[in-house]
Amino acid sequence: MAEENTTDPTQGNSKLVGLLAQFDDPDSLVHACDQARQAGYTKTDAYSPFPVHGIDPALGIKRTVLPFIVLGIALGAVFIGLGMQWYTNGGSIGGVSTDESPLFPGYRFKISGKPYFSLPANIPVTFEVIVLSSAFASFFGMWFLNKLPMLANPLHRISRFKRATNDKFFLMIKNADAKFDRGSTEAQLNEWGAVAVEECRQDLTDIRLPGWLRLVALIGAILLMLPPVAIFRAMGMTNRAPRLHFMPDMDWQDKSKTQTVSPRLVNDEFLFADERAMRAPVDGSVARGQLDADPEMYRGIKRDYTPAVSVTTATGSVRTSLGPNQNQQDVPAAAPPAEDVSMFITTFPDEIEVTEELLARGQQRFNIYCTACHGFSGNGNGLVNQRALALAATGKATWTTAKSLHDPMVKDPEKNPIGRIFDTITNGRATMGPYGDQIPTADRWAIVAYVKALQETGIEPPVVVAEEGGAVAEGTTTEPSKTGDGTKPRP
């Protein structure tokens, strides 16, 4: 073995890497490589401006594994490409779809009833993903296997070697080779036709990273952290200032919305003379689905009944005022105090057929809208009632107990015919508010049917003790849901 580190003053503190022999044409390079391999050298390498044919066997270079790396990546890309499309477009396995995933759910495009995942449509993108991944694999795989980028290399310090990328050919026998000997190896290289032989030495004086570079790198790394830190900090805190709009994204548009004042145009002109930005409907026009001409269906009042007093509201629709009703501001105080019960229909209107489905619907709507005050059994002791009574007991509020639907007056078909129940739900009564705006007409009739069924069960209101805290359970007997269905409430 030759010397490792030399203290020769002409060489400085340097290490011998190997001997570099120059050749002038590719054939003599291949020949020399062949000789070197036969002489038993293994740690050798050749350098040429272009790939020289026949040099691989001459140097004993084994075939690279790169194709298998690329194949592996390509096969993986098949699954990644298909899986990405399957997941993002809401594919499903055994009825479980990715569009129900809590994190980054897939999105199902409903287009002409086509399947959400179909292999033919997903082949182009899968193919492109395979090609892209394989190209990256072969490109960076080549880097990795060739240990590129390797910017520091003692070879680049040899001025003769600059022609390795131009027109000269080089063979290097490395110091690390077991057979390497400074003198005899040089003799052999000359014998094999080298034009020149030169030592390749690695300078050991300046291979350490300069200290200031570390400092600069550290400061740079800290500075680079600042933007992400600022972003994450902003994401984790609330801020009342409006967000920055780098791109307006059509957030502000020159347009007027409904129910707004017209923008002032030039010379005090407005879009319309009444200074509105929109037009009111023409008098007497009826919006689609809003024609409520049939009084039996829409108000629960007999068709042949002539109202004693009718009030024409601003929109032109006719409403019959029904007794004392605090919720109706537009009803004059002089409305007739006496209520004519005979005007209400006593059977369901023609459009409503009482079926089990209607009762089920009525029960469901009743449970949503009515039970808060009236309770599930209709006894007038819903949660609101309980809480209000508890508050009233402490003197913090006043409360009129909600009516029990089993109250004899309420149950009496003479005094409270079906049409009047409908009217009560629609317009409210006494302290009860109107629900006409919240519950569609058909659903109100369904609730009426359910109320009649509930009343037929005849459950007596259980004794209720308003305890402090308002936690009062209704009796176990107050489950009317099934019993109500069996009775036919038609009076």
Binding site: T88, S134, L148
Partner: protein, 462 residues
Amino acid sequence: MATVNPVLDNTYDDAAKRTPLVLGGLDYAGVTDDVCKIWEEEKPQKIWFLVLGVAFSLLLVLGACVGHLLMKGTGVWGNNNPAYWGWPIVNFVFWVGIGHAGTLISAILFLFRQNWRTSINRAAEAMTIFAVICAGLFPGIHIGRVWAFYWLFPVPTEHLAMWPNFRSPLLWDVFAVSTYATVSVLFWYMGMVPDIATFRDRCKTRIGKLVYGLLSLGWTGSARAWHRYEIAYTILAALATPLVLSVHTIVSFDFAVSQVPGWHTTIFPPYFVAGAIFSGFAMVVTLLVPVRKMYGLENLITLRHLENMCKIIMATGMMVGTAYGIEFFIAWYSGVQYESYAFYNRAFGNYWWAYWIMVSCNVLIPQVFWIKWCRTTPWFMVIICIFVNIGMWFERFVITVTSLCRDFVPSSWAYFHPTWIDLLMLIGSFGLFTTLFALFCRYLPVIAMAEVKGVIPRDHDH
């Protein structure tokens, strides 16, 4: 050393001899010097400054148009009911098609061991990348709100709460074109690494040493590195070959998957690919003839190279012509009145002028290449190639606009009117392309030196 062949004409065919691909008796150093002198000139030629100046001005025009479009919206284009796809898609398909010749030369001819590709592949690949940049610009700004461009990709976005529709050809296009651009850049850069190393070793300025030193990754030309490099290059070529065919196939799906008469045809994928190669080769010739003249590269980009390209142009031109004929045959043979009308309207309707420009430029004019003088006279072939590219632009115009302006409902029939912005953007895209190409000629190796050295015959070859 290599055979000294002082004759510049190597277009003869002698079966007994291998045609030399490098003339003038250039040896390895001669090839290096010939290519590097473009970059080593102290001051570039005046003509280079002139070309760059004009191109850069057009690039500024393009920038102004894009800025105007971003401020005002896509309404500044002539796209309107019923031709919602106007010049932007025409320009997109035109530029993507141009790019295809570069990949064909670098990948397909490589796999077929066509050694004559070596001195033209670098410039052709550069052309591919610059053409794809021009192509990507048009759909890129067509999305209107470019700052939301990442919605094109399957990126989890909080406020969109959607993913791309992977059954849409337009999305396939996003994947195809972006993959194509990426793989082309990888292929181009990888081929260039050994040549950049040559630049690094010859460079005299500090900044040049730094930049080329970084770009060459420390390449030494080691036999082991060459071994892996060649295999990696072959794999990339094998990947780029189906890729380039898939890209224009998928671009044609944008049309063919729709229902519009004149678009809904199965011939589109092969027809588009042939047209792409046709227009791309025409562009390579248009670029390389002046480059070879300007930089004295006649020994490397020889007449034989140009002649081979002219033959390919003629062959692909006839493929395109066949496709035009088949379209008419199918329109008649199918018996579908909409299809028949679409093609009758193309040739004899109100866009007859565009159709016949397309047929004359693409099918008739390239027929002159049957004559040897025409395909061995550089200035003449440039003129023909410019006609080819005009014809290919009109082909995309005819396909896009005539079909949209005459769809199923006569009440929506109309005539397409481009705006000034349309025109300036098309011209500006040429400015972008030429600027990039001029910079490439000056600062990067125009010819793949390492590959050309590999095809110089060695002493024992003869």
